[in-house]
């Protein structure tokens, strides 16, 4: 039967002065048993990652454990000296991280880095270590383990690298595995495979897993027990079913409600006329190569044809590398498409010269993904919004006044116009981005993953704002996202892209209800907590 592997008792961690709150963790008590996955869920800044680092005693030196005990294997890790901790790390408790791209040393081979675990903690010979590494790589089902061992991190995909990290973590059969948002950075299909892999290995090796995530879908898929955290404290704890279906604490309820359900709201009536038609657009990249030889050709967009009804929202979904962003940038002519036509209000955008594009660009505006990078840090908020009209000849005073009005429209305090971007939260910045796009009163708005960098609750508010504005201003929107749930909420029509081509398109309810193309089906089934999302949606209606 399962016995407690790790128990935290009133763990409190103090932050250095000047941080936004005194304690990273206050009075956290929980326990993880063997052969069990405990999910710790909460928004960014809730202290969940800090807890993982506290357990491994890898906190940055200005952050200190104030009080509390961390009992593991009969020992209190708070009191353990560095030598003792080094034995625990890797052998007793293992850890995998969120960014597979940077979590491995770029200059050493995968086999070498996994082998290092054995070299540290065991006296095995070189040959034995290589054999164990091969076995581990097969365990985590990496394609062609022999080549993978000799490969460098940059030669593997994100998913393969995460598998290598898991192999490394489980090398010495640790009692406890801490997974700090291991799948957040992965595509939804790869994410599904990794979650399944962790589940199988955990059951086979009876390890205790402390799984940290912000995505309730993932919680629904693999959690045995759940801990919900807010501002460094545990607000609710219990079995997965209890917490998900009968949440006690208001914050938990609010979090679950913010998760957009998979089923689409009732379809809106769409006008017959198209405001924008895309016909046969394609774009190929030639990278590297010397004097024409040996260049690598990637066809980012292959012969895409779509149409956007006036006032409607066309969703373009697909995984990273499917070409959706390139298509979006072709539409606003940030990138020049190789072939095809883009007709907006009867004018073919693809054929316009550089100066005409600059004049006509007021009709089609774009909202960007990264709240931090999409606003010039050196300009005040009001100035950012007023930039468009000023460029197109409006005088400065009226443009700034107009900008203040737009602030109200997007739900921001007009007086905030004088502050700099770094003084706003992520959600507020996306609103400024939106205001900037609307300042030129465009006919079409292209939104490239506008909410995927935001917390779930903030995501919901911005989507609601978009829906209101669409109604109020009669906006036609092209909405690019990798998150099918978000697409289901906001899009009237949706097109699914894979490897640069549109594999399926149609009304959202039809495409999500009865997916025709196998890839769309795979996408839908890979969404974690699929049934939870569906059941929950009927409950929350």
């Amino acid at each position: 039967m399962s016995e407690t592997v790790l128990s935290l008792d009133a763990l409190t961690v103090r932050l250095p002065k000047g941080a936004d709150r005194p304690h990273a963790l206050s009075d956290v008590s929980l326990s993880v048993a063997s052969n069990e996955i405990l999910c710790v869920v909460g928004e960014s800044g809730s202290g969940k990652s800090m807890m993982a680092n506290a357990i491994m005693r890898l906190l940055p030196n200005e952050v200190t454990i104030e009080r509390g005990r961390m009992m593991f294997d009969g020992r209190d890790l708070c009191a353990a000296d560095p030598a003792e901790m080094r034995e625990v790390r890797g052998a007793g408790i293992a850890m995998i991280f969120q960014e597979p791209m940077t979590a491995l040393n770029p200059l050493r081979t995968i086999g070498d880095q996994i082998g290092e675990m054995f070299a540290i903690h065991t006296g095995l010979s070189k040959a034995e270590i290589n054999a164990r590494v091969q076995a581990l790589l097969e365990d985590v089902r990496i394609p062609d383990p022999k080549a993978a061992a000799k490969a460098y991190p940059h030669e593997l995909s994100g998913g393969q690298r995460q598998r290598a990290m898991i192999a490394m973590a489980l090398a010495l059969d640790p009692k406890l595995l801490i997974a700090d948002e291991p799948t957040t950075a992965l595509d939804v299909t790869t994410q599904a495979q990794i979650l399944k892999l962790i589940r199988d290995l955990q059951q086979r090796k009876k390890t205790a897993v402390l799984f940290i995530t912000h995505d309730f879908g993932v919680v629904a898929k693999i959690a045995d027990r759940v801990v919900v955290m807010q501002h460094g404290a545990i607000v609710e704890q219990g079995t997965a079913d209890a917490v998900l279906n009968d949440p006690q604490h208001a914050y938990t309820r609010q979090l679950i409600a913010a998760v957009p359900p998979l089923t689409a709201p009732p379809p809106r009536i769409l006008s017959g006329k198209d405001i924008l038609t895309i016909d046969g657009v394609s774009k190929t990249y030639r990278t590297g190569g010397f004097l024409g030889r040996g260049a690598r050709i990637t066809e980012a967009v292959k012969n895409v044809s779509l149409h956007l009804p006036r006032g409607a929202t066309l969703g373009i979904v697909g995984e990273s590398g499917s070409g959706k962003s390139t298509l979006a940038r072709c539409i606003v002519r940030l990138i020049d498409p190789d072939t095809g036509s883009i007709v907006l209000n009867g004018k073919d955008w693809a054929k316009l010269g550089r100066d005409d594009v600059r004049r006509e660009t007021r009709h089609i505006q774009m909202v960007f993904q990264d709240p931090f990078a999409s606003l010039n840090p050196r300009r005040k908020a009001a100035e950012l919004v007023a930039q468009g009209p000023i460029v197109h000849g409006a005088d400065r005073a009226t443009a700034i006044a107009e900008a203040r009005k737009l602030f109200e429209l997007v739900g921001l305090d007009p007086s905030a116009g004088d502050r700099y971007p770094h003084e706003f939260s992520g959600g507020q910045r996306q609103r400024i981005g939106l205001a900037r796009a609307l300042a030129l009163k465009p006919d079409v708005l292209v939104a490239d993953e506008p909410v995927s960098a935001l917390d779930v609750s903030v995501q919901a508010q911005v989507l609601r704002l978009l829906a209101e504005l669409r109604q109020q201003l009669g906006l036609s929107i092209i909405f690019i996202t990798h998150d099918l749930r978000v697409a289901a909420q906001i899009c009237d029509v949706v097109a699914v892209m894979k490897d640069g081509a549109v594999v399926e398109q149609g009304l959202t309810a039809e495409v999500f209800g009865k997916p025709q193309h196998p890839y769309t089906q795979a996408l839908l089934s890979a969404i974690p907590g699929g049934k939870f999302a569906r059941e929950h949606s009927t409950a929350a209606e």
Binding site: V332, M366, H422, R436
Partner: protein
């Protein structure tokens, strides 16, 4: 501004600032404390420092007051260092901005020229420029400036390359801004901080280059520069070593101050964008 608070938190930066202000004060007060021309004959040559009340730091082998030359020398070094740095930074930004923003053959051509300047040992080029255009104060300053622009050019180009594809620049494009507006309005303000901080390194190098030129007796003789004094002191080095030692220390202190201030600025000012 919290950047200012952060600057003063590091002791090294504060020391650097104090030293720099001291040198600037010396430069300003030179006219008041030593009204006479520092190159005029003030007394017997080679009087030891502190041995004669009228000459606190003694006299050099041309009978000129060393203290006066140190004060006036501060003016020259700061002037040469400052102006040469401005020239180097301006050319550097111009070349770096165009190479970084436009890329393609423009980048290739400009980079070949930058590489040519960096492959050619800069001091040899300086010698040629001075031999050709003569060694007056203006030619030496311009020559030092012209020799030190490749480094800031490379830095500006790197900044422009990374900022060019940033989303707020693409947003500017979608708003219909011309290239010039994008370069000057959007990219440059964000590319400047690291280049300005690098200016302290360029200034330090400029002062050292001028003193090396003066040491080889190729600098402007009608001007009381520290380098000239060191060069002059070279002939009496074995006995009156102070003639070279005092200006050497003055250069060391000034360059040290400039570098410390530069480092302090760098730590305090790292731009918001980059630190995320």
């Amino acid at each position: 501004m919290d950047a200012v608070k952060r600057y003063f938190r590091s002791p090294a930066a504060v020391i650097g600032l104090i030293l720099l202000l001291l040198v600037i004060a010396m430069a300003i007060s030179a006219g008041l404390l030593y009204p006479r021309d520092p190159l005029a004959l003030a007394g017997r040559p080679l009087i030891w420092p502190f041995s004669n009340p009228r000459f606190l730091l003694g006299t050099d082998n041309s009978g000129r007051d060393i203290a006066a030359q140190i004060f006036y020398g501060a003016r020259i070094s700061l002037l040469i260092g400052g102006v040469a740095t401005v020239i180097a930074i301006l050319i550097g930004i111009l070349v770096g901005a165009f190479a970084g923003y436009y890329g393609g053959w423009v980048d290739n051509v400009l980079m070949r020229i930058t590489e040519a300047f960096q492959t050619l040992p800069n001091f040899v080029l300086l010698l040629v420029l001075v031999a050709v255009f003569g060694s007056t104060l203006t030619t030496v300053t311009i020559a030092v400036g012209v020799v030190s622009w490749p480094a800031p050019a490379r830095l500006t180009r790197a900044e422009f390359l990374s900022l060019r594809n940033r989303e707020f620049v693409q947003a500017g494009k979608t708003l219909g801004m011309k290239d010039v507006q994008l370069i000057l309005g959007e990219i440059l303000p964000n590319a400047l901080p690291p280049v300005i901080v690098y200016a302290s390194v360029v200034m330090a190098v400029a002062i050292l280059l001028e003193s090396a030129l003066a040491f080889l007796r190729l600098s402007d003789p009608n001007v009381a520069s520290w380098g000239n004094l060191i060069g002059l002191g070279r002939d009496v080095l074995r006995v009156q070593w102070y003639v070279s030692a005092i200006p050497g220390i003055a250069i060391l202190v000034t360059v040290l101050a400039v570098s410390l201030v530069g480092q302090g600025l760098n730590d305090a000012l790292n731009p918001r964008l980059k630190s995320r």
